[in-house]
């Protein structure tokens, strides 16, 4: 399998311009093998352009891309599985034939290709649709067919651009599980998405791109820790006055039933809990809040704006 010490993918000072518009500016990142690498960022940030450069559809104006320890070249394309953001299938072609064609384009052919197609169709609960034309499928089904085209050649690197869009909750779970299975097989996965809750649950590492620049990069756990704001989510009855101590509480915000209490930096949340309990306040919920990826995303996007 993949060598665990060397990164699967390296981008060094990669820049791509379209005319006067700089889509990606001096981007450097590393994707480690066997991990799920999340690429997040607002629309138009340069995610898709970055991915297209990785799969060798466009070529960077400057900078270097290295995949599996080699400079990017055409022959490496067969080791990548790519699910583009904008899906496309031949509308009039039957699902089975379609998959067969895409498998052949990735140099998988003959009985081997047929066996893999059947296995994947079964896994994604599409076996009954093998002889239907693509246009007869629902959007979610097309999505799953498209996913199969990305994995049919058993690639070492899987790049998924918004893999969950258009899927119902059941299929989202199925897709998540499939992605995790792939990770379990030692594959490296790059996941680009807007859906922060999913990224939060799946990704090991995260890179955030905004306006062509990288604004964040690193293991998800470390990022969240660095954004920890010493906040507590509270659900209490009575004891309102206790929260007015400026030496302890910096700010409070009401979110429905819940109260978000932002403590003064360095303050110990346990002191607050003790005071509440001592004052006889009913504490229904007391939770130390780590910032969600969503919060970090919004904060970073605002910062840049």
């Amino acid at each position: 399998m993949t060598d665990n010490t060397k990164p699967t993918l390296v981008l060094e000072h990669v820049t791509k311009r379209f005319g006067d518009f700089t889509a990606v500016d001096d981007l450097s990142l590393q994707v480690r093998p066997g991990r799920i690498f999340g690429v997040i960022g607002p629309n138009g940030a340069g995610k898709t352009t970055t991915i297209r450069m990785i799969v060798n559809i466009t070529i960077p104006d400057s900078g270097r891309i290295e995949l599996f320890g080699q400079p990017m070249k055409v022959s490496l394309q067969d080791r990548i599985g790519y699910l583009p953001e904008e899906r496309g299938l031949y509308r009039k072609m039957k699902v089975g034939e379609q998959l067969r064609f895409f498998a052949e384009l990735k140099d998988v052919r003959g009985k081997e290709a047929d066996a893999r197609i059947d296995r994947w169709l079964e896994k994604l609960q599409l076996s009954d649709w093998k002889n239907k034309r693509a246009k007869e499928l629902s959007k979610g089904m097309q999505q799953k067919v498209q996913f199969i085209t990305a994995v049919i050649h058993d690639p070492d690197l899987l790049i998924l651009d918004e893999p969950f869009s258009g899927l119902d909750p059941v299929n989202v779970e199925l897709m998540k599980q499939t992605i995790l299975d792939n990770k379990g097989e030692g594959k490296t996965i790059i996941l680009s998405t807007h859906q922060m809750e999913i990224a939060e649950k799946l990704c090991d590492d995260v890179c955030m791109i905004n306006r062509a620049h990288k604004v964040l990069d690193g293991p998800l756990r470390e990022i969240r820790r660095s954004f920890a704001r010493n906040a507590v989510a509270l659900q209490i009855v009575g004891g309102d006055g206790l929260l007015n101590d400026p030496a302890l509480v910096a700010n409070t915000r009401q979110h429905g039933e819940e109260l978000e209490v932002l403590l003064v930096p360095g303050a110990n949340p346990q002191i607050l809990l003790k005071r509440l309990v001592d004052a006889g306040v009913t504490v229904n919920k007391f939770e130390l809040v780590e910032p969600s990826l969503h919060d970090i995303f919004i904060e970073k996007a605002r910062e840049a704006a």
Partner: protein, 443 residues
């Protein structure tokens, strides 16, 4: 290479299996036959039975001859010459066929003589007019007493605007008058006919070889027409294939798996094979059909050297390929097939320009114009063929023109694939030429 073949296979199999292809292949020849035969039949169709004519003969001796000419369908002079122009092979057969066709075209005639019986000509005319009004008669001919001297006769018909009938009548009277004049001069009609037989001019090239230029020339036009037809039919298919991939965004997956050049080449070859399959089916059908229908009556097939067939085939493929690539190129720049068709039209008109040029070239096949136009890849498929059948140029010129054609086709595909790769990443609007130029440099 295997990926390239996968693309070719997909394009071919997916298209050949469509109902549209099967229907077009079966109906194509029928429609074409319909277009050639039906109009002829419609013109020839004579509604309401034979044309009823009356002859008022004031000369007293001409009516029998005129009647004979009218009924026997002896054709007006021009038709007669066409008949004689046919090659001697199967001559009688041929002549008979043409006469038959002409009779069908002119319809049949019912002729009656109306004697004066002491009435004045005006009374007779008045009487005949009434009969025309009553639809008992379609028209009448008045042969005045001095017909043989003045050569003037009168034809009145309900439908005086019908040029076919009046021409026919004129021809019949002329023939009758000529026959009578010869008889009056005591000259044997038969020997005059023999004496008037036109000569047969055999044309030879200066090398002493009999020149097949004429037959070859028709063939070249046939090939030109075939290129034009196939480009019109299958150019649209190429255009649609490119646009479909752009629209459905399949292109993005394709480009992540295969390089643009083999992809584009594969598409073009796949679609071309579909076209060739269709033409082959039509060709076989046509040959079988002709063999069955014309069996027994040998049609003088012009003798054509096999090398010429080779050139015809090669230049047909070249021409088709170059122009089909134009459609692919256009497809990369536009978003709908309608747009694409409009954009490709000016280029396809060059094909027609090539056909017109060949009229000049056939008269001076070694002029500088002939040379340069046969080196210009958009004209060469037709102009070089014309030169080959008239005055075959040195082989190096043929080879050079083929090389230029091939380089053009490959160059166009290369350019197309570059534009395709960048163009498919841009969505939603038609590209401008400066944009396209930027894409070419960017890719």
């Amino acid at each position: 290479m295997r990926k390239f073949l996968a693309v070719v296979k997909r394009e071919y199999v997916q298209r050949v299996r469509t109902r549209f292809f099967i229907v077009a292949t079966v109906l194509g020849p029928l429609v074409m036959a319909g277009f050639t035969i039906v109009p002829g039949m419609m013109i020839g169709m004579k509604s309401g039975g034979p044309t009823r004519l009356a002859i008022v003969d004031q000369t007293g001796k001409m009516s029998a001859r005129v009647k004979k000419e009218l009924i026997n369908g002896k054709q007006p002079d021009d038709d007669e010459e066409q008949t004689r122009d046919q090659p001697p092979v199967g001559n009688t057969n041929r002549k008979e066929q043409i006469n038959q066709a002409a009779r069908r075209f002119h319809g049949s005639y019912q002729v009656e003589e109306v004697p004066l019986n002491g009435r004045t000509i005006d009374e007779v005319k008045k009487d005949l007019e009434t009969r025309i009004q009553d639809r008992e008669l379609d028209g009448y001919i008045v042969l005045p007493p001095n017909l043989l001297e003045t050569g003037e006769a009168e034809f009145r018909a309900r439908n005086a605007g019908d040029p076919f009938t009046s021409n026919y009548v004129r021809g019949a009277i002329s023939a009758a008058v000529r026959g009578q004049r010869l008889a009056d001069a005591r000259i044997d009609e038969k020997s005059v006919e023999t004496a008037s037989q036109p000569i047969d001019l055999k044309t030879f090239g200066s090398g002493g070889q009999e020149n097949k230029g004429q037959a070859g020339f028709y063939l070249v036009f046939g090939v030109g027409f075939l290129i034009y037809m196939s480009v019109l039919l299958y150019g649209q298919v190429v255009l649609g294939a490119v646009i479909e991939e752009k629209e459905t965004r399949i292109a993005e997956i394709l480009f992540s798996s295969i390089r643009p050049f083999p992809l584009m080449m594969g598409k073009l070859i796949g679609v071309s094979l579909v076209a060739l399959t269709q033409f082959a089916i039509w060709g076989v059908a046509f040959v079988t059909f002709s063999a069955v229908v014309i069996a027994g009556s040998p049609i003088a097939l012009p003798h054509i050297p096999p090398t010429l067939f080779l050139y015809l085939g090669v230049y047909f493929l070249m021409g088709y390929f170059i122009y089909a690539t134009i459609y692919a190129l256009v497809g990369t720049m536009v978003t709908t097939t309608q747009e694409g068709g409009q954009l490709a039209m000016p280029v396809v008109l060059m094909l027609i320009a090539g056909l017109f040029l060949s009229f000049n070239i056939i008269r001076s096949p070694n002029s500088p114009l002939a040379f340069w136009s046969s080196m210009f890849p958009f004209f060469a498929p037709i102009t070089m063929l014309v030169r080959i059948v008239t005055e075959t140029p040195p082989f190096w010129q043929i080879a050079l023109s083929l090389a230029i054609c091939l380089a053009t086709a490959v160059g166009l595909i290369w350019l197309t694939s570059r534009i395709y790769r960048v163009g498919m990443l841009m969505t939603g609007k038609k590209a401008t030429i400066p944009e396209v130029w930027k894409w070419v440099r960017q890719a």
